[in-house]
Symmetry: C2
Subunit: 231 residues, 2 copies
DNA sequence: TTTAAAAGCTGACATATATCATAGTTTCAG
DNA sequence: CTGAAACTATGATATATGTCAGCTTTTAAA
């Protein structure tokens, strides 16, 4: 599969609308995109920046985070292959509210906002699909709000590991494919790094998590799930 | 202003698209809507319910909340005159993820989902406007997530009062127009009712809030803002 | 008007979590 | 290979917040 068609797939998968975009429109997106390689730890865009387009993740994982007043980063979302970053800012014509930083080496393709806005205006089915996805995202955001305010740090960390397994899978030995630093996990669940480390150690002692080198794996999914659910 | 045109205004204001909806479409919405009166404390729809349409708030305020595993309600949003409830569920074709309960006596109008979906499919400008609003909402949801996980309860309560003043205003004596119970405030900021009561008392002692009867008012906005910002 | 229920308040106490300090361990650039 | 920097780990302690219990005041229904 060449890079052109792979990039189209990003858009198509994200917007779930192969049928909704005409050949011409796809062609236009392909013609205008630019591919970039991003090294682990490097930034793709920063909070407050005016985005000139959206970024489609072709390979690797990016963390989308926001700096809070107390100087801590809160990771709001992890974006992986096939996902698009920056579309909210482009659609709402607002500056980016999140920063995007590469969790590991990445490849992203850039799609100028004109191409997106153009298609949105010309192709109602496409727009409707984007709307449906955004409605779904909004629902998920509500769930996150409830979890953040009602669950304990332990429960949220348990959930984070279940999420990592569900969304990124595990290798043949049962270790999570995506390895995040303790600090990143802490920033996902909104806690102090030390607390995160302590709880992970506790989970290992209790046989819910296992580790091998710097890899972490889920050893007892049911126990972890029960804890996350508050039992 | 008769009730028909007022209801149209709800939709128009919410979707910010007077020009985007044709006369015929507006007519169709008017023809299909049903008006309902809701008493304080009564429910408009429940979490998990399949909504047959959206509700447009014509008068009063509704709290949109979700029951968490530990049995506490988390209020995710307050919907007031001109706002529409249930559109996410209708657009994403998912069951409602939030319950809507009247904070005070309300009047709402019901718009069947066919009318909405119909217009969404036929009128791309309308769809694009809805999309823009939803993109904006999603950004706000991200901000709430960051606040919930990074700010203290005191900061969040301070913010809640500033929000109430900003969005619902105050009477001539400087008391908030919208009076919420301590429990409701606690459920907005995600804390225990007792903690909320204690902190409100503290704010009164420190001259940041004032009270008269069951009304609360902001006595020192700057102090409250500084606290919310972490100074 | 009476009275039960809901809301508001306060104290005592338990506990989760943050913070600070220190040290071992891994990673990686030079 | 080596040293500095980043990451992981753990203890001691402080603090914010939740929980439980009892009480008063307000609200609203009979």
């Amino acid at each position: 599969m060449d890079s052109e068609s792979r990039c189209e797939n990003c858009i198509i998968r994200q917007f779930n609308s192969l049928r909704a975009m005409s050949k011409d429109e796809l062609k236009q997106v392909s013609d205008t995109k630019i591919t970039r390689k991003i090294k682990k730890g490097d930034s793709i865009f920063e909070e407050g920046e005016k985005l000139k387009g959206v970024y489609c993740v072709r390979d690797g994982v990016s963390k989308l985070s926001k700096l809070s007043a107390n100087g801590k980063d809160q990771i709001v979302k992890l974006a992986t292959k096939g996902e698009v970053m920056g579309q909210r800012s482009v659609i709402a014509e607002e500056s980016a509210n999140l920063s995007a930083v590469a969790v590991n080496d990445m490849e992203v393709c850039f799609i100028p906002k004109e191409a997106i806005v153009n298609t949105l205006h010309k192709n109602p089915d496409f727009t409707f699909e984007v709307l449906r996805l955004m409605a779904h995202d909004l629902r998920e955001a509500d769930d996150v709000i409830v979890n953040m305010s009602q669950k304990t740090v332990k429960q949220r960390i348990a959930e984070a590991f279940l999420y990592l397994k569900k969304n990124y899978g595990e290798d043949k030995n049962g270790y999570l494919s995506l390895t995040l630093s303790r600090e990143d996990i802490a920033n996902v669940v909104g806690t102090a790094t030390e607390s995160c480390i302590r709880i992970i150690s506790e989970f290992k002692k209790k046989g819910m998590l296992k580790s091998s080198g710097k890899k972490l794996g889920i050893a007892d999914e049911k126990k972890l799930q029960d804890l996350a659910d508050g039992f």
